[in-house]
């Protein structure tokens, strides 16, 4: 029978890579997911545990895709603990993607928010001038620095900058302070961000205030992935169906972005 994107397709985890003590990448074979667009996500079923939305990570090998997960709650810890040879179910891919500009580009990622940034890097052109900013709390939480560098090998102009809140690696301070510094010095043709909402909020503000094109990929609690359950609504928008990627100008008019998310009962909670 033909594949139904809204029904779980079962795949086997072929390889698990430890990125940090709390972050793992799980690789599997799947043509559909391997061709997912940056910013798109899958609903990932861990049988007997839960199902959660996951941005679709790239793999070096053709026909393969991956999920990079930080163990945090019940569902993400369940996925983190999946071993090589074990099976999971995947639905999707869901959501829209980024509008990639040409020229001088800035990518700002924090934590597993780096996943769509890495997939987006595979679409930049060799002549683009690319800066990647990786934010982390501390040194042992930094990952994908080498991957970002290797994806940009062919670029004459590229910088991968790491900042840690405690200064244990790279630049010291919040990644959003680095964003502000960069944008105040140079014009960028496009800014792309994914990670903690406050980080995205400040990045969007920094770019909007200088009339620089910016897009952010939002994360919300999700159940259906197709715009019927309403769990992921952000103001008038549904993160799953209207997003996950939104323009900065659109977000600046959204009363919930940067301030609220909804809990499992649908009640607004402050960040």
């Amino acid at each position: 029978m033909q594949r139904d994107h809204n029904h779980p397709t079962i795949v086997t985890i072929e390889k698990v890579i430890d990125e940090t003590p709390t972050v793992r990448t799980l690789i599997f074979s799947d043509e559909v997911m391997s061709e997912a667009l940056p910013g798109q996500f899958a609903m990932v079923w861990i049988p007997g545990v839960n199902e959660l939305p996951m941005s679709i990570m790239i793999s070096k090998e053709p026909g393969k895709a991956a999920f990079t997960v930080r163990k945090h709650g019940l569902a993400s810890t369940g996925l983190f603990n999946v071993k090589e040879g074990e099976q999971i179910g995947i639905r999707g891919p869901y959501g829209n993607s980024f509008d990639l500009k040409e020229g001088k580009l800035l990518f700002v990622g924090g934590g597993t928010g780096l996943v769509p940034m890495m997939r987006l890097l595979t679409f930049v052109r060799p002549r683009d001038d690319v800066t990647v900013l990786i934010g982390a709390k501390t040194k042992n939480e930094v990952f994908f620095e080498d991957l970002a560098k290797s994806l940009l090998e062919e670029h004459h102009h590229h910088h991968v900058i790491v900042s840690t809140d405690d200064g244990s690696y790279g630049e010291k301070g919040f990644v959003t302070d680095v964003v502000e510094k960069l944008l105040s010095k140079t014009h960028f043709d496009g800014v792309y961000t994914c990670g903690p909402e406050i980080m995205m909020y400040k990045t969007v503000q920094s770019a909007n205030s200088r009339h620089i094109f910016v897009q952010a990929s939002l994360e919300r609690m999700m159940k259906c992935g197709v715009g019927i359950c309403g769990s992921c609504c952000v103001g008038t928008d549904l993160a799953c169906r209207d997003g996950t990627v939104f323009d900065g100008l659109h977000l600046s008019k959204n009363k919930e972005f940067g301030y609220f998310h909804r809990n499992k009962a649908g009640i607004l909670e402050h960040y």
């Binding site: 179910g89 609504c233 649908g266």
Partner: protein, 303 residues
Amino acid sequence: MEPSLETSIGQIQLDRPVMLASGILGISLDVFKRLYLSGAGAVVTKSLSIEPWEGYPNPTILSVKGGGWINAVGLSNPGAPNFAKMIEPNKDVPIIVSLVGSIPEDFEMMIKQFEHCQVTAYELNLSCPHVAKVGLEVGDDPELVKKIVTAVKNSTNVPVIAKVGLGTSNYLNTVGTAIDSGIDAITAINTVRAMAIDAEIQRPILSNRYGGLSGTPIKPIALRCVYEISSKYDIPIIGCGGISTWEDAIEFFLAGASAIQLGSAIGDNWITVFHEINKGILQYMKRKDYSNIQEMVGLAKRS
């Protein structure tokens, strides 16, 4: 003369006959406004309980290969008090408040919360097939239906609708009991109790195991129910179950529904579906020379 999409379900007057069904997208006023502007004649809220409910863990929704959806969201909702506060500023969107509870006092208490809100109607959820002690378990108990409908009718002047579904007892008796107790209209039907099992994983997919089937596979069942209710009783009916095209909508009018609700079609076709169905109904009415929806209601019952 241009045909009109206006319809009335008893005393409920709507500009357009296509509503958002309960359980779908119904937790934010901003989204309600967007749906109204997209062509929905009214929105039915998620079923509200006295306390906030988190619902079941994921997986809660998936499609059925070949068509339709199965869900066991578990009636997650922010609770009637929070919800009432949220919709209080609303003046533009016709909102039908869906309520779920186990005893008459639950419903009475919740209706009090909406004193300062503009509520077009209440819809009593007597038919959710996957949560214990509420929904279908209430709908299957005629004595309880009688008590709840009577209590609700005594606590409000706003029209009250009962949403029925296919449980273990004859749903037509539930409809009859609700009518005898003073109900103003019937919504038929809810999702049909169902399940999904994965052949590879060899276990049910929904965390709750059982869920409700919605979408195109249940349309002929829903259509049959609307036809049966309208043949047996004189009560305004809202058709619900698998409606995704204007043709589906017309079929429900012909079977006896004065308005319709949809939900799964949004998962398949997104919210442009409201506009598409409205447009199709208007074209059909022009072609058949009808000036209003009521002229079509129940026509299929001609001998």
